[in-house]
């Protein structure tokens, strides 16, 4: 690389990494990590602190169980000898002991005479904001058509109601089996799962539990997004810097010392280095978080290295087009039209990323991987998926990108050396094409 390219690159790099936004970006990284790690903890604590209590009013009237032939007694400890459908409120209370978000204030079993006054009192407290709400159990929930009804002033908050209803459903379902003469063991036999949750990955990788696998399906998307963030940050900086140099005629001073090619290459190298610096810091921080949280089974170590490699080729490739566009206009807003095709190329892998994560080895996904505009994104998407491409595909994609970067730089340099010295009406795509062909 020529001395002039390195000089321009160093100036671009230093001017970029000394900006407030860059320093803020670096400093914010540990803050974001700490935030991400502590977020759940803090939110749980906050929710517990801020969560309002609720109450259960048990007005249920269970019928005594019939003497059915073959009725099995509930197992000791499970129903504590209570007949099916009885004492539902108290049994619910047990499952809400120590709950994080909401506190069950009391389970009330008023007599028929006190019930209206009690419901009035609870309604008033709910209206005043003392209670989140209260549930009322009525009728025979096991053998009849009894129901739970939820009273609240915030009907949009359905979380508590759903949690309560789930617990009640479980209790009532068990009681109904007893009512109908089915033992818990029989029920367990009926409900035995047919799916073994422990998938066997023939490639020998650990698959973790179902929750982990669900989380793992989002990992490819995270990497694709990170690539997009990298190139977006780069695009804005490169456009601004090129247009600034052009509009205040700095470019004339520079071109009286160096060639347009050296200027363009230096700018790209400097900004790629600056973006890589920031993203590398973030990647290290991300890797640290993965280890700290014990998510190694979700994100393999080498993914971080591949991310930086593909980030570098993405930025290098797209930067050439962005530099050419920046040279062809004199104001940032004029660049928007010309940037549209670039953004479309960047968006296509975004639209596909979930599908590609699920079907990484589909034939057309593999074909699309070798279209240079999508290669880095689709390769990262596939690498982070459950069926990553092999070393041959990785090598082929990198070789393709090296040649693509070279070709794009060659074409962009032709546009750059014409555009950077033209002022007035911004160039349109047809003119850019003409400059590329004319050289």
């Amino acid at each position: 690389m020529s001395r002039n390219i390195l000089l321009v690159a160093r100036r671009e790099y230093l001017s970029h990494v000394r900006t407030r936004s860059f320093i803020l970006g670096v400093l914010l990284t540990p803050v974001l990590i700490a935030f991400a790690v502590g977020l759940n903890h803090v939110m749980e604590k906050a929710a517990r602190k801020a969560g309002k209590p609720f109450a259960i009013v048990d007005l249920s009237t269970p019928a005594p169980p019939p003497a059915l032939p073959g009725l099995e007694r509930p197992e000791a400890g499970r129903f504590e000898g209570t007949p099916p459908g009885s004492d539902l409120g108290r049994r619910l209370e047990k499952s809400w002991e120590g709950a994080a978000r909401w506190r069950l204030e009391a389970v009330l079993r008023p007599g028929a005479a006190e019930a209206p006054a009690l419901l009035d009192s609870l309604s008033r407290r709910t209206r005043d904001g003392e209670l989140e709400g209260f549930a009322v159990l009525r009728g025979d929930l096991v053998a009849g058509d009894g129901k739970m009804q939820w009273y609240t002033r915030n009907v949009a908050n359905v979380d508590l109601k759903k949690a309560l209803a789930n617990d009640l459903r479980e209790l009532v379902r068990l009681d109904r089996t007893v009512w109908h003469g089915v033992s818990e063991s029989t029920l367990a036999a009926i409900q035995a799962p047919v799916l073994d949750e422990r998938d066997v990955d023939v490639s020998g990788r650990s698959t973790g539990d179902a929750t982990s696998r669900e989380a793992a399906s989002f990992i490819p998307m995270i990497f694709v997004y990170a690539l997009l963030i990298g190139i977006s940050a780069q695009a804005q900086s490169l456009l601004t810097s090129t247009i600034e140099e052009k509009s205040n005629r700095l470019v004339e001073v520079l071109l009286s010392s160096i060639s347009p090619w050296e200027l363009m290459a230096g700018k790209i190298v400097g900004l790629v280095a600056a973006t890589l610096t920031l993203m590398a810091l973030w990647t290290v921080a991300g890797a640290y978080m993965v280890h700290r949280q014990g998510w190694e089974h979700l994100v393999r170590n080498e993914m971080f290295a591949w991310f930086l490699v593909y980030l570098m080729v993405t930025i290098s490739f797209y930067s050439t087009f962005i530099a050419a566009i920046g040279s062809a206009v004199t104001e940032l807003k004029e660049a928007q039209n010309l940037m549209l095709p670039v953004w479309i190329c960047l968006m296509i892998p975004m639209f596909l990323m979930f599908f590609v994560g699920q079907h990484p080895d589909l034939w057309w996904v593999r074909v699309l991987t070798y279209v240079p505009f999508f290669t880095p994104f689709l390769m990262m998407n596939r690498l982070a998926s459950a069926v990553p491409p092999g070393p041959v595909e990785i090598a082929a994609s990198l070789v393709l990108m090296v040649f693509s970067c070279w070709g794009a730089t060659y074409l962009a340099a032709r546009v750059f050396r014409v555009g950077i010295l033209l002022y007035g009406k911004p160039a349109n795509p047809r003119e850019l094409w003409r400059w590329m062909r004319a050289g």
């Binding site: 100036r11 001017s15 001073v253 009286s256």
Partner: protein, 314 residues
């Protein structure tokens, strides 16, 4: 060996011909002024000399060579807009520009500090360029152009927008370069500055060369001008056969004489009818030559700047 040798150079932008079949030689070691009204082709010519634009036809040799990257390091170029990094610190930016011209960083820093001291800007080296006044930025632009001690200095409109103090500064820099045997080429609208500084004048109009030569050569064969003061009714002078034009400024008048006119005969005719207090013959100023040339060539004099501008009428 000429510092600049331009042969039959043309440059077109679409259908507009900016420079048309231009041939010009700038001898080494001289101060050469590029004159011409706005849009005449001065800046385009300078940019072609610097190889910022390539000519459509013709050849340009600078310091005896076709333009190349190594040759650029022997030339200093200051565009009209100065071209400074506003967000960089002054010293850091100067070292960067010097490095692009091939100076090692340490040497570039030493020279930059010397120049800053020479122009009273040593306290501003660590400040951002954007914090400098316009005059200071002009000086920094000049320093950036001179740091690598170029053999040829090309300045595009170096006097535009300068106050008298900074104008003096630029003039001193150019004279210093001339004393040190460097070639200086500058474009300007400031006719009086060009007259004071230039060894040679080149004038371009609508892309074509209309004047080229030393100041004396340019003046030779031009109309003579008589500066006169008199008492009496001088209206007859406008109709005198030897008079081309009269500019009456109240306190005195400038009379442009026709080519071949006899000044002493005019003085006799004036003395017969007026009380002549002063009759002084002088050569036409560069400004007068410029205006006359532009008008004869069908151009306008928009953007013309100079202390003698207001005195020229007709």
């Amino acid at each position: 060996m000429p510092a600049i040798d331009i042969r039959q150079v043309s440059k077109r932008f679409g259908t507009f011909t900016a420079v048309d079949d231009l041939t010009l030689t700038v001898p080494a070691g001289c101060v050469q002024g590029f004159l011409g009204p706005n849009g005449a082709g001065k800046t385009t010519t300078l940019r072609m000399v610097m190889n910022i634009f390539a000519p459509d036809s013709g050849t340009i040799h600078v310091l005896g060579e076709r333009m190349s990257e190594p040759l650029k390091k022997r030339i200093g170029y200051l565009p009209e807009e100065r071209g400074l990094y506003r967000k960089m610190r002054v010293l850091e930016m100067l070292v960067f520009f010097a490095a692009l011209k091939g100076l090692p960083e340490r040497e570039g820093r030493r020279r930059a500090q010397d120049w800053l001291q020479r122009f009273g800007l040593e306290a501003w080296g660590r400040r951002f360029v954007r914090d400098l006044s316009k005059g200071m930025q002009q000086k920094v632009g000049f320093i950036a152009t001179m740091l690598h001690d170029p053999e040829l200095v090309v300045l595009d409109e170096p006097f535009s927008g300068l106050d008298p103090v900074n104008l003096e500064f630029v003039r001193d820099v150019i004279l210093d370069l001339k004393r040190r045997g460097r070639t200086v080429v500058f474009s300007t609208h400031q006719m009086d500055e060009a007259e004071k500084l230039c060894d040679r004048i080149f004038m371009i109009l609508a892309g074509r060369k209309v004047l080229d030569g030393s100041l004396d050569e340019v003046r030779t064969g031009r109309d003579q001008v008589a500066l006169v003061e008199y008492r009496g009714e001088g209206g007859f002078l406008q109709r005198d056969a030897d008079v081309l034009r009269v500019n009456d400024y109240g306190q005195y008048s400038e009379i442009s004489l026709r080519p071949g006119a006899e000044p002493s005969a005019l003085l006799r005719r004036m003395a017969e009818r007026l009380q002549v207090l002063r009759f002084e013959l002088r050569q036409p100023t560069l400004h007068e030559i410029f205006v006359r040339t532009v008008r004869d060539g069908g151009g306008d004099v928009e953007g013309l700047v100079g202390t003698s501008r207001e005195r020229v009428g007709g």
